[in-house]
């Protein structure tokens, strides 16, 4: 460990929780926007961020009546930042909903544990609505064997799934050593700070572990 490491660690430890949360939320947002499949919902982080946003809105509401120009300017700054945070949270959730809408059955079967309570409620309710609508409008008139919406027989699956081999851009946050691309004989080393275009399936585990981030 050299002097830079020690300094950086000191810098890191001294950063307040709020700043760390902003960094984590930003990273989660970028990852969700880039990754082809749904990623785990960061429960604790979202809880903290949403509580803080709620409190900040209350502060703004309390001080809006104050006409003192100095307080007024402070409010402008606070509100600008509030809007930026709200954009981050909203874009993050919308990116997740887009994936849930695109691969509803796949998410239900394979990554149900990645959903937040309200997302899983949305998914179930939406799927039930769709199923009953299809059933009443045309499916009931089909032969029994053709009524399924999630048929995987006959070589072609009806369940749309994201392509795990999609190329993604990623950056190593730590020295992660050798990465083997599954299905090929290709392997390469990734050092801290390296940016590469790789198949999502090859780095998925490392991204979830926080050793690699998507860009």
């Amino acid at each position: 460990m050299d002097i830079d490491d020690i300094l950086a660690e000191a810098l890191h430890v001294s950063a307040p929780q709020e700043t760390l949360d902003l960094q984590e939320l930003t990273r989660a947002w970028v990852a969700e926007r880039v990754a082809p499949e749904l990623l785990p919902y960061p429960d604790a982080l979202m809880e903290r961020v949403l509580t803080r946003i709620r409190r900040q809105i209350e502060t703004v509401e309390e001080q809006t009546g104050n006409m003192d120009p100095k307080t007024n300017f402070k409010l402008i700054v606070i509100q600008t930042e509030l809007e930026r945070f709200k954009f981050l949270v909203r874009s993050f959730l919308r990116a997740r909903v887009a994936k849930i809408d695109k691969y509803p059955l796949h998410v239900q079967q394979n990554s149900a544990e990645y959903l937040s309570p309200s997302e899983s409620q949305y998914l179930t309710a939406h799927q039930n609505l769709l199923a009953s609508h299809y059933q009443s409008s045309f499916l009931s008139q089909f032969p029994n064997s053709l009524q399924k919406l999630d048929d995987t027989q006959g070589g072609i699956s009806m369940i749309d799934a994201p392509d795990p081999d999609t190329a993604v851009f990623c950056r190593a946050l730590r020295d992660v050593g050798e990465i083997n691309v599954v299905g090929t004989d290709r392997a390469f080393e990734m050092k801290r700070g390296d940016v590469r275009v790789v198949r999502w399936s090859a780095i998925r585990e490392k991204v979830l572990a926080g050793d690699i981030e998507l860009v």
């Binding site: 307040p16 984590e24 961020v49 300017f73 700054v77 930042e81 887009a98 290709r186 700070g193 275009v197």
Partner: protein, 236 residues
């Protein structure tokens, strides 16, 4: 409700990220520290310098409450030196800042202090293009020679784009193309093309592999593959 955008960050989103970069300002007015959602801002006492996120610095600048100090790498001599290096070192990765060492949660751009007044002058940070453009547009009066900076930025961008295009020659579907050294906006620009080509090559490769396997099976069974076989495959 769902986001209608395809995967991958768009340029406005990259610019949004870039606005989280720290820059150094020289305040003209006092302002106490504010408890923001992303942490407390340092109190501003003119003429002491302070490091603020870019969005806040721009807000203060627009209201003429502060001046922004351009980062050292955004000065004409520094840019000229980097340009010189990039044009001579063919297709080599440009000099970049090392990432912060591992911690509980390693810091990465845009949270590295790579564009403050005491940032290194011989390396471009990840958000160099966006940051340079934003500063030139919003705070050109804080530069000594904004036109020279603008000209050098444009040259640098062209040289780097040419370097990126050279990298395209080593494309293949299997591995990983190294993009180390390219900035956020450059990655966003190349994303659709590079990602599309790699995915396309992979699909062609997969199809070839599959038909190759098919031949193998046919031979194992003692049946040569015929044109009919291909027709069958197409039907499926």
């Amino acid at each position: 409700m769902a986001l209608p955008l395809p995967p991958g960050l768009t340029p406005p989103e990259i610019a949004f990220l870039c606005e989280m970069e720290l820059v150094t300002v020289i305040p003209r007015q006092r302002l106490e520290g504010l408890d923001l959602l992303g942490g407390r801002t340092p109190p501003l006492h003119p003429p002491q310098r302070a490091n603020l996120p870019l969005w806040l610095a721009l807000l203060l600048k627009r209201q003429r409450r502060a001046n922004i100090l351009p980062p050292p790498w955004l000065s004409p001599p520094a840019l000229a030196a980097i340009l010189e290096l990039e044009s001579t070192a063919h297709a080599a990765a440009p000099p970049r800042l090392p990432l912060a060492p591992p911690g509980i949660l390693p810091i990465s751009p845009p949270f590295l202090p790579s564009s403050t007044a005491d940032a290194p002058r011989d390396a471009l940070p990840y958000h160099w293009l966006e940051l340079g453009e934003i500063l030139l547009e919003a705070a050109s009066d804080d530069f000594e020679d904004p036109d020279a900076v603008r000209r050098l930025m444009r040259d640098l961008r062209e040289v780097r784009m040419a370097n990126m295009r050279k990298g395209v020659e080593v494309f293949d579907a299997q591995g990983g193309l190294s993009m180390t050294g390219f900035g956020g906006m450059e990655v966003a620009e190349g994303r659709a093309f590079i990602g599309g080509v790699i995915d396309g090559l992979r699909k062609i490769g997969a199809a070839r592999e599959r038909s190759g396997d098919g031949d193998q099976d046919d031979q194992d069974n003692g049946f040569p593959s015929t044109a009919d076989d291909y027709d069958d495959e197409m039907d499926m």
